[in-house]
Amino acid sequence: MSEQGGEKGGMDLEEETSGVVKKFMFVNRKAPHGTIYALEALEVVLISAAFDQDVSLAFLDDGVYQLAKGQDTKPIEVKNFSPTYRALEGYDIEKLYVERESLEARGLTEDQLIVPVEVMSGEELARRMEEQDVVIGC
């Protein structure tokens, strides 16, 4: 995935936000294709990495399909951005939470996902959500 240059924006941003580390959670509920939400959410996640925040990603409902192995988007002529999730580690984004109930309801198992994740119950995920300063669902 490529990003336009100068995306970070905002003058004196480093000064204004330096030292503040908040807990950001990005909540992914939508299938990877069919709508643009998953792709554009990933773009925000990548930008957030530049701000040295405590970032986590949650995958639930059809959002768990975003991490499914073996996606082939050629027939629908859209970009397969799923390899980008594997690059998140390089941005120090390693907290990927997947809701167990959503996985099970779709017949998916942890080993069918393209990245290492922490599978947890909806209840546990709700607790993690509660701990956040900023929750962005898109």
Binding site: Q4, G9, G10, F24, I47, F51, Q53, I136, G137, C138
Partner: protein
């Protein structure tokens, strides 16, 4: 943060009503950030029927009255043909960093969308 386009979705209307109510209660709004199809709230080409609300102008008016910072994501805008030439008054185009920065600086970040 507004993630849906005007008229086709309630998100922008709800965000507007919320913003107005928050301002009336004395809260400060650090920024309004338009993302996904939400960028379409910022095109000056919008011309709704006369008996309907004008969502774009309404945001611009609120911004003028209260000095709001209305920011449209450049990448999401480019994808959808929203550029400086058709940007409505009161809005500005900038990067996603502005959203993250708001998340860091504001007490609350509220998302309006699906």
């Amino acid at each position: 943060m507004i993630n849906e386009g005007p008229y086709s979705h309630q998100a922008s209307d709800t965000a507007y009503q919320f913003a107005k109510a928050a301002l009336a209660k004395g809260h400060q709004i650090h920024r309004v950030f338009f993302y996904n199809d939400g960028v379409n709230n910022a095109t000056k080409l919008t011309e709704p029927p006369q008996d309907d609300r004008h969502i774009v102008n309404r945001w611009a008016k609120l911004a003028e009255e209260h000095g709001l910072d209305l920011v449209v994501c450049v990448a999401a805008g480019l994808r959808r043909g929203l550029v400086e030439e058709n940007l409505a008054p009161g809005f500005r185009i900038s990067g996603l960093g502005q959203l993250v920065e708001s998340g860091i600086q504001a007490d609350r970040l509220v998302v309006f969308g699906d």
